[in-house]
């Protein structure tokens, strides 16, 4: 089951539920074929944006804004901040499009990661406002990771397979951290466990995940 916008570019089709079954995998295969075509289109647009082409920027926005705004909403939890993060992300795209390397990442993945990192920075500033200001001060000029993705992985089928080998708790925590932007203290509080326990769950989960992914 796919949710698509009217006249969708392929990247706008998303599985309607995060199930892990064969149905999902079939969906992804279908998606992947269509995605390849739009991947080339987005790569071309990003290259044009890096040369300052405003029409390309507009085209890129039309094709990707819904996806990226969804990510902003999911992480920020409210529309006002989600909009600000979206703006910030596209302003970054405009100025840093030359950092996109099609060999290392698909354009939509690069955009999604950049958007997620922009949202994370903001979440950290929000958290830091009440805790440690030194965290906030560092965030701004420190965006190295916003642009760096290594190609070797990005294999959805493999990731879901390996996530499936973790115990349900670790799986859920890792997913929540990545998709909701929850940090250690927030996850510990939400689950009602000591911070150390939460760290241990997630660290072990990540270690097992790595072992599985590296096989």
């Amino acid at each position: 089951m796919l949710l698509c916008l009217p006249d969708p570019p392929a990247d706008f089709c998303f599985p309607s539920s995060p199930s892990f079954g064969i149905e999902r995998m079939m969906d992804r295969v279908t998606n992947d074929i269509a995605a390849r075509a739009s991947r080339d289109e987005l790569t071309r647009l990003l290259a044009a944006v890096s040369r300052g082409d405003r029409n390309a920027f507009s085209g890129l926005y039309k094709r990707t804004a819904a996806k990226l705004f969804g990510i902003c909403l999911r992480l920020m939890g409210n529309e006002a901040e989600a909009q600000e993060v979206l703006q910030e992300a596209y302003v970054t795209v405009w100025s840093k499009a030359d950092r996109f390397d099609p060999v290392k990442a698909s354009p939509i993945t690069w955009l999604a990661v950049l958007t997620r990192n922009t949202a994370l920075d903001r979440l950290r500033r929000r958290n830091a406002a009440s805790e440690d200001l030194s965290e906030a001060a560092e965030v701004e000029d420190d965006r190295t990771s916003a642009f760096a993705i290594l190609a070797e992985a990005q294999d959805a089928t493999r990731l879901y397979h390996c996530l499936g080998t973790l115990d349900g708790r670790a799986q859920a925590m890792i997913r929540s951290a990545f998709l909701d932007g929850a940090n250690y203290p927030q996850l510990a509080e939400r689950e009602g466990v000591p911070l150390g326990t939460m760290k241990s769950w997630i660290r072990r989960g990540l270690q097992r995940l790595r072992l599985c992914l590296e096989q």
């Binding site: 949710l3 599985p15 300052g52 920027f57 804004a65 819904a66 996806k67 705004f69 909403l73 909009q83 979206l86 703006q87 910030e88 596209y90 302003v91 970054t92 405009w94 100025s95 840093k96 290392k104 990442a105 993945t109 994370l120 950290r124 958290n127 805790e131 440690d132 200001l133 965290e135 906030a136 001060a137 701004e140 000029d141 420190d142 190295t144 990771s145 760096a148 993705i149 190609a151 070797e152 992985a153 990005q154 990731l159 997913r175 951290a177 990545f178 998709l179 932007g181 929850a182 940090n183 250690y184 000591p194 911070l195 150390g196 760290k199 241990s200 997630i202 660290r203 270690q207 790595r210």
Partner: protein, 253 residues
């Protein structure tokens, strides 16, 4: 607080946790430090980011409101003059750097960083945002720079003003600490005029502000930009009440 670190613990785990986004406090700062200094760590973070990125496909798309695109277009600046500005501004600053021989290296780096970020990115919304409709740009006026130094002439803040975009960017070079009862307030003082507040400064090392037309027209060649220490939240009177800790003149370098 118990912290049951598991055996194979080390930078590799930290990279995974950093990519996942769960770190806070000292661990977050340590990860940032490693990210800056350790290429191996950076690669590991990038690898993890790539591994986890497919999860983002699960997020349903939501069409953003039309206002978002309008705001983005506004923030990336008026179409024609943008790229020229970059070149013009860097050239001007290069000249100005040659003149200001006594300037500290830190300030030099900062002004350079500013030039790089100024024309196209406005990454951080300023805490004080005087929003104003961007006027249709006349023949683009030249960007200006001010080095705000203390009485010992040490550069504390580099201010860069782009009249076309109404954008003021501040980069803090020196020590600008304040306590919780005080704020740093930013002022513009036109030649022979009275100080007008541009708002209080945030704790960050870099600030971007878009100024309203009424304030923007005060930032002319020769105007002074100054920072005073005020009660938290800013001067209660609308004029500077505390000591001025840094000031400098705007020059069309």
């Amino acid at each position: 607080m118990t912290d049951e670190r598991t055996p194979a613990d080390g930078p590799r785990d930290l990279a995974a946790e950093y990519a996942l986004g769960v770190l806070t406090g000292a661990e977050l700062l340590k990860a940032r430090e490693l990210e800056r200094t350790d290429a191996g760590f950076r690669d590991e973070v990038a690898r993890w980011t790539g591994r986890l990125a497919p999860l983002l496909d699960e997020v349903d798309g939501v069409a953003p409101p039309d206002a978002a695109w309008a705001a983005i277009q506004k923030r990336v600046g008026p179409s024609a003059s943008n790229d020229n500005n970059t070149v013009v501004l860097s050239r001007q600053v290069a000249r100005w750097r040659g003149i200001a021989g006594g300037m500290t290296a830190v300030a030099a780096c900062l002004s350079f960083a500013l030039i790089w970020t100024l024309p196209r990115t406005q990454t951080q919304p300023a805490p004080i945002e005087h929003s104003a409709p961007t006027p249709a740009p006349a023949p683009a006026p030249a960007p200006m720079v001010a080095i705000l130094g203390d009485q010992g002439q040490a550069a504390k803040v580099v201010a860069s003003w782009d009249p076309a975009a109404h954008q003021l960017v501040l980069a803090v070079a020196g020590d600008m600490k304040t306590d919780e009862n005080h704020s740093h307030e930013l002022w513009v003082i036109p030649k022979g005029g009275k100080p007008s507040s541009l708002g209080t400064m945030s704790a960050s090392r870099q600030m971007h502000m878009r100024l309203a037309q009424t304030l923007a027209k005060l930032l002319e060649n020769g105007a002074t930009i100054a920072i005073s220490v005020e009660p938290r939240g800013g001067s209660p009177t609308g004029a500077p009440t505390g000591p001025v800790i840094a000031s400098g003149a705007l020059t069309q370098a």
